[in-house]
C-alpha cells in the first residue's frame, strides 16, 4: 500500500489500540507492524503530536528489566476524536468496497 496513505491510517490504528487498554510506545509499534508494514520510526512523532493535542496522557512505569515504560492513555477528547475518525474510515472503506464490487461485476 502507498506509504503516505498508510500514515493517516496509522493514527487510527494507534487510537483503536489505546481504546482497549494503555500501551507503551514499543508495544504499540510492535502490534501495528505485526499487521501492516510501516516505518516504525514514524509512530513516535505521531504519539507526541496526539499527546500535545490532548488525545492522550502519558505516565511512566518502571519495569524489572529495561528502561521505564512510557504508557499512553486515551483521554475523553481522544475517544471523541477516535469515533469521528472511525466514522470517516467506515464511510471511506464502504465506498471503496462498493466500487470494487461493482467493478468486479462488470467484468
Amino acid at each position: 500500500m502507498n506509504v503516505q496513505f498508510k500514515k493517516g491510517v496509522l493514527e487510527l490504528c494507534v487510537l483503536v489500540l489505546l481504546d482497549k487498554q494503555d500501551h507503551y510506545g514499543y508495544e504499540l509499534v510492535q502490534k501495528i507492524s505485526d499487521q501492516i508494514q510501516i516505518s516504525e520510526g514514524t509512530v513516535y512523532p505521531l504519539l507526541r503530536r496526539l499527546t500535545k493535542e490532548e488525545y492522550f496522557t502519558t505516565y511512566l512505569q518502571e519495569s524489572k528489566e529495561g528502561p521505564p515504560r512510557k504508557y499512553y492513555q486515551l483521554t475523553d477528547k481522544g475517544r471523541i476524536y477516535l469515533q469521528a475518525l472511525l466514522a470517516e474510515w467506515y464511510q471511506f472503506t464502504n465506498g471503496v468496497n462498493h466500487l470494487i464490487k461493482e467493478g468486479v461485476k462488470d467484468e
Binding site: 491510517v9 493514527e11 510506545g25 514499543y26 516505518s39 512523532p45 507526541r48 528502561p67 475518525l85
Partner: protein, 185 residues
C-alpha cells in the same frame, strides 16, 4: 546503521527544533532500541525497521515549523515552515513553491506601489529643484497618488496579514495530505 549512528543523525537533523522536544523524542527512540535489544534483535535490524532518521526528521520539522508559524506568524517561521514542507518531497516543491512565490510577489508589488504613491509629492519637489519649473497639475496628481498610496498601505496591512494566515493554513493542509489526509485539523 547502528543505534549510535541513528541517534546522532536524528539529533543533527533536528537541531532547529526546541531543545526539550528534541530530547524527549530522542529518548523515545533510545528506549525503542533498548526494548528491541531485549527481544534479541540487533541494533542494525531495529534501525532498519525504524526507517531513515532523515525522513523522520523531515516530518517532525515540517509539523514543528508550522506550529511555530501559527503561533507568532513571523516571517522567519513562515519561511522555515515553507522550506520544511518543500523538503518533504518533489510533490510539495511543486504545489507549495508556486503559491508561495505568487503570494510573495503580489504582496511585494502591493507594498511597492503604495510606497511609490506616498512619496510622489517628494518627486514633484525634486522635479522643481532639477528643472526649476512648476506644473500645478503635477502637484495635484502627486497629492492624489499620495492619498491612494496611503489607502493602499492600510489595505496592504490587512492583505498581508490575511495572506499569511491563508498560507499557513495551506501549509498544514499540505502536510495533512502527505500524511494521508486523515489528520482532521
Amino acid at each position: 546503521m547502528n543505534k549510535r549512528e541513528f541517534l546522532i543523525t536524528l539529533e543533527a537533523e533536528l537541531k532547529d527544533i526546541d531543545k526539550q522536544e528534541r530530547m524527549e523524542l530522542l529518548q523515545d527512540y533510545e528506549a525503542h532500541f533498548e526494548f528491541g535489544l531485549e527481544e534479541g534483535k540487533t541494533e542494525e535490524e531495529i534501525a532498519k525497521d525504524l526507517g531513515s532518521p532523515r525522513g523522520i526528521a523531515k516530518e517532525v520539522k515540517a509539523s514543528y515549523h508550522i506550529e511555530q508559524a501559527k503561533g507568532d506568524g513571523g516571517i522567519q517561521n513562515i519561511l522555515q515552515a515553507t522550506l520544511a514542507v518543500i523538503g518533504l518531497g518533489l510533490f510539495n516543491l511543486i504545489i507549495v513553491l508556486g503559491p508561495f512565490l505568487a503570494i510573495v510577489s503580489i504582496i511585494f508589488s502591493g507594498w511597492i506601489v503604495s510606497f511609490a504613491g506616498i512619496i510622489s509629492p517628494l518627486l514633484v519637489l525634486i522635479d522643481i529643484f532639477i528643472t526649476s519649473s512648476f506644473e500645478l497639475v503635477n502637484l495635484f496628481a502627486a497629492i492624489l497618488f499620495c492619498g491612494l498610496g496611503l489607502l493602499l498601505l492600510v489595505a496592504m496591512m490587512y492583505v498581508t496579514k490575511f495572506m499569511k494566515k491563508i498560507f499557513i493554513r495551506y501549509l498544514s493542509y499540505n502536510v495533512s495530505i502527505v500524511k494521508g489526509g486523515m489528520k482532521g485539523d
